[in-house]
Amino acid sequence: MKNSCKRTDEIVTSMRIGITPDADSHLAECEECRAAVSAGDWMRQFSNLGREEVPVLPDPRRIWLMAEWQRRQRSSPGRMRLIDCLQWAAYGIAAVAPAIWFTFRWPQLVQWVSTLRGGEAAWISAGSSPVLWTAVALGGITTLVTLQLVFAEE
C-alpha cells in the first residue's frame, strides 16, 4: 500500500458528515482510503469510550496565580533575589537564635533539668553537650527543611 490516493482526506471527511455514493464506490477499490476510514472509526470509538468520565479539572484561578508568580519572578529578578535572600536570612536567624539562646542559657538549662529529674540529669554535663548540640542541629535542619517545603507550597 502506497501513500498515493489524493482523495483520502475528502473520503475521511465525507465519512464524518455522511457518505456519498461516489465516496462509497471509491472506498470499494481504494485500500488506502479504507485504512484511513477504519482508523477514523477506531479513533472516534476510542474517543467516545469514557466520555462519561467527569474529570475534576485543575482550578484555573490557581493556574493564573502560578503564571502571575512566574511572570513576576521573570520581570523583576532583582526583587526576587532580595526576597530569596530575606527568606534564607529568616531561616538563618531561626537556626542561629536558638543556638545563641542555648549558649547563654546553658547553665540555667542544666540547672532547670536537674531540678526536674534530680540527680539523673547529671549526664547533661559539659562532656555530653555535643550529643545535645547534634540533636539540636538535626532538629533545626529538619525544621528548616519543613519550613522550606511549606513556603514552597504556599
Binding site: 471527511t13 485504512a35 477504519s38 482508523a39 469510550l49 469514557g50 474529570p55 479539572l57 512566574q70
Partner: protein, 185 residues
C-alpha cells in the same frame, strides 16, 4: 491581547503603546477560555497519556504556557488550535523524558466491559509514537486538516500527509493483529 466578546474569548493583538509586550490575561478571561477548551483538551491529553493524573498535569502546564507565551492575534478557532499545539508539544516533551511504559500504570484496573475495551484500546494507542497519537487524534477526533496539523506539529503539510499515512497504517496493522478487521465496503 484577548477580549471577551459575548462571552467568547477573542485575541486582538498586543497592548497598544507597549512595544513587544502583551497584557496578561485576567482571571475572568482565563476562566472563560478554560470553560470553553479545558474539557476537550483534557480528553485529548487523557488519551495521549493514558492517565487522568498525568492529563491534569499536562493541562495545567498547557494553560500556564498559554499565559506565559506571547500570544499571536487569534480568533476563537485559532486560540483552540494554539492550545492544542501547546498541549501536543508539552505532552510529546513529557513522553520523551519518561521511560517507556512508565505512564498510566497507576490507573485503576477496569471494572466493566466498556472499561476493559477502553483499556485495551488505550494500550494499543500507547503503542503508537506520541506524534502519531497526536496526529490521529487531531485529524480524526478534532477534525483538523493537514494545514492545521502542520502548524501544530511544526512540520510541512506534505510531511503531515506522509506521517498520517504511516500512523493510520500502523494502527491498521495493530487492529489486524488484535483481531479487529478493517471493514470492507
Amino acid at each position: 491581547m484577548m477580549m471577551l466578546e459575548n462571552g467568547v474569548i477573542v485575541a486582538t493583538g498586543v497592548l497598544p503603546g507597549v512595544s513587544g509586550a502583551r497584557r496578561p490575561l485576567t482571571i475572568a478571561e482565563l476562566e472563560s477560555c478554560y470553560a470553553l477548551h479545558a474539557r476537550p483538551l483534557w480528553a485529548y491529553l487523557r488519551r495521549m497519556s493514558g492517565s487522568a493524573v498525568e492529563a491534569d498535569d499536562l493541562l495545567q502546564k498547557s494553560f500556564l504556557r498559554l499565559l506565559e507565551a506571547p500570544l499571536p492575534t487569534l480568533d476563537e478557532a485559532g486560540l483552540r488550535r494554539y492550545l492544542y499545539r501547546i498541549a501536543t508539544n508539552i505532552s510529546i516533551d513529557s513522553f520523551r523524558s519518561m521511560r517507556e511504559g512508565e505512564m498510566a500504570r497507576a490507573e485503576q484496573l477496569p471494572v466493566d466491559s466498556s472499561a476493559i475495551l477502553r483499556a485495551d484500546m488505550q494500550r494499543m494507542f500507547e503503542r503508537l509514537k506520541p506524534r502519531e497519537r497526536a496526529l490521529l487524534w487531531l485529524a480524526h477526533v478534532e477534525g483538523y486538516d493537514h494545514q492545521d496539523l502542520a502548524s501544530m506539529l511544526g512540520v510541512g503539510a506534505k510531511s503531515v500527509r506522509v506521517l498520517l499515512f504511516r500512523a493510520r497504517k500502523k494502527l491498521q496493522q495493530m487492529m489486524e493483529r488484535d483481531g479487529r478487521k478493517v471493514p470492507k465496503r
